[in-house]
């Protein structure tokens, strides 16, 4: 541990704004060699959340046949021209198409066949009259009350997806709807990027493993590793939680050196002391170049954040703040996008375009603040809030407390950003709550 004398309170070396930090991280990732592991073949049933290593191209037309979009009668459109309520066209019903079967009949002039929604049109039918626009007229006859244009109520072969079309791009993180798309195309297995391996390294003389049943005086259990590891898994990474590293510069350097050799991303979790933070920065620098790229974030909470590239492959290393709430705020803001990029995800265009202009797009719930809060003008601040429904609307109640380690984690439902330049927020003010 560091001494508590004034000399120990090292200044943060290169304090940057969160937007600038985001740019530095993105630029560093573009420069870093990154993982060179081959893609994996993943069966569809376990592909949710995985990232496509190659675009998926349709190997066949969808649909593969002329398909009705309504319950009705398949017709040659010209046969219905001129039909009206007062002047119905009489057609001969020569059959009925069974659902899921080939339409094993042919229509001659003036002939029609009943067809269900989703059913195949017999040749040479090119349109379907909705059943609502027909009247049965004795055995095997039907009156058509409205004309249909060619193609009406029909999906042509390949109209949904034509063979050869790129349906899902490389870099797409597969959601439930994407699995439906793959199923529709008969794809049973997809090439996916390997999950990034993430080292989660708790540090600090006072930190003992979470599983420690009885604490000695002065000890604190490792809170942050469990929370960060759960986030890493949720964001598509494979976390490995290391043994706690004491505040010993050589030991930390050796641990980081081994980690950047075997992992794609390294997260060093700070203890409470200033010394631990300095050790992390020094170790990253020794393992460079380039070493530390920024040291200190103009963000509250989250100031004691470090980022750099280390090891021969230029593996990204974050030093996260010791306070668990701070660590989780910085995780969301900087680590999550970095991890997703390391996993091969190419964010959709709207998201990257917004990011490049410094706008983070996060879905939020609008609420009103219950009480005024003050804030530093000089930096962005994130306020932990608890949500309350009252008087028919949503309220955000600030969760404070110096003692906040656990209470804040357990009570906060979301975060409200107070931009740099504002002195605080007013009671009753409309705020945007990003859910935790």
């Amino acid at each position: 541990m560091s001494s508590a004398g004034p000399d120990a309170r090292a200044d943060y070396r290169d304090v940057v704004s969160p937007a600038e930090a985001g740019r530095l991280v993105r630029a560093a990732l573009a420069r870093s060699a990154g993982p060179a592991r081959p893609s994996e073949a993943v069966p569809l049933a376990s592909a949710a959340g995985r990232v496509l290593a190659a675009a998926v191209v349709a190997a066949e037309d969808v649909p593969g046949f002329k398909r009705s979009t309504v319950d009705g009668y398949a017709v040659r459109a010209p046969d219905t021209f001129g039909a009206g309520e007062g002047a119905p066209v009489l057609l001969t019903v020569v059959g009925r198409v069974a659902m899921g079967r080939a339409a094993d009949l042919r229509l001659g002039p003036g002939q029609t066949a009943a067809v269900p929604t989703g059913g195949m049109l017999p040749e040479p039918a090119d349109a379907v009259v909705m059943v609502e626009h027909t009247v049965p007229a004795g055995e095997d006859l039907v009156e058509v009350l409205r004309p249909v244009a060619p193609g009406e109520n029909v999906v042509r072969p390949g109209e949904d997806v034509a063979r050869g079309t790129e349906v899902l791009p490389a870099g797409r993180r597969l959601g439930p709807a994407d699995l439906g798309v793959l199923a529709a195309l008969g794809v049973t297995e997809v090439a996916c990027h390997p999950r990034p391996k993430v080292a989660v390294i708790p540090t600090g003389d006072e930190i003992v493993p979470a599983g420690t049943s009885r604490l000695a005086p002065g000890q604190v259990r490792d809170i942050t590793s469990a929370a960060v590891a759960a986030h890493v898994t949720g964001d598509g990474g494979e976390p490995t939680v290391f043994d706690v590293v004491p505040d010993n510069p050589e030991l930390l350097e050796r641990t980081l050196e081994a980690a950047v050799d075997r992992f794609d991303l390294v997260l060093a979790l700070g203890g409470s002391s200033v010394g631990a933070r300095d050790n992390t920065a020094a170790a990253i620098d020794k393992l460079g170049p380039p070493g530390v790229l920024f040291h200190g974030l103009a963000l509250k909470p989250g100031k004691p954040t470090i980022f750099g590239l280390a090891g021969g492959r230029g593996v990204p290393v974050f030093g996260l703040p010791g306070h668990p709430v701070s660590a989780l705020v910085v995780y969301r803001l900087l680590v999550r996008p970095a991890l997703r990029r390391l996993g091969g995800e190419l964010a959709p265009g709207w998201r990257t375009a917004a990011e490049e202009q410094g706008t983070a797009l996060e879905a939020f719930l609008p609420a009103r603040l219950t009480t005024a809060v003050s804030s530093d003008q000089g930096r962005d601040e994130y306020l932990c809030v608890r949500l309350v429904w009252s008087d028919g609307r949503l309220w955000a109640e600030p969760v404070h407390g110096k003692s906040g380690l656990i209470t804040m984690l357990a009570r906060a439902d979301g975060l409200v950003r107070i931009p740099a330049g504002r002195r605080g927020l007013d009671a009753g003010e409309n705020v945007e709550v990003v859910l935790l």
Copy 2:
């Protein structure tokens, strides 16, 4: 399959609004016997996303010792009274507390000890002077420039969490921060509700399994099961996808009968035909009472939705629309909250209070609509949109198309709700986009 004649177009029996449907589902779940399986002991590392079966109560005080929140000097507060820049108080430094260790010294009057952030205070110190407010004054002496009040810069034992406090309530779905809370308390294993078992039953004469490599004319692969199963997993359920059931009333009834015996929730996925839908409703009724509780939703897309309770235990059964986009809209709106409730989750108070007043709270991104869209006034409508970043803001572009099965699934980024009563939305109008 049903005939395509007018008689086959059965009216929806009991069309309800989405809000009324939500109330009916919630009331039915409260009435249903539900799963009576015992809770499971889940290790912390795999508890993310699981639901607590019992409240977690702190077994110890946190912190367990008087803890400094700053780097500085532990003092008996009265020793600093009267200190000022011009009149510093001189204290004798009798030691230094090591991080993570017991403070193995005692302060006499006029004595102090250096203590790091997070370090333990020696007895009988009751406050810490920040290092910034001190000046070293030769060996073993320090000048204090400001007084501190008792308790200043100190977290008392139990101040964060007192022993016996309920820290996390039963019914809480554990997020990453909650795992941190459990780790802090030394909890290594928690009692969780079992995951609900969900039967996913594709139906329809035209539907063939997703794995089918070559389609015969008239056939369509099962798109919806893969998408729904992925959602079920994400919402904490254990999906089992059944073999496709053809449009045969007896077969469907037998399948549902077996499913309600072994599963906690049954999702019957409609084919394209009206007949399949009617079969589902008839089977649920036969397996009641109460059988079908509503049949038809005043919602676009999503009208052909059925809900009821079936089997001796009153297992909830949804009949979902055959169109995959419709099925996914209804899943989000009705199935997801039902599944989460079946998993034992008690939504936070703000969410349930809002739900009871008919307000669904979903986080959204604000965007502008690129083009005007029209809609039915009589029912809620959900518009699939693609997001585009342009001119420094987010735009929502409607994704249309009768052919929409796959294209819509692959292209839509989110949904925009057009409330019943509106004739449509204007070009340039501000909309709330819920991400898919």
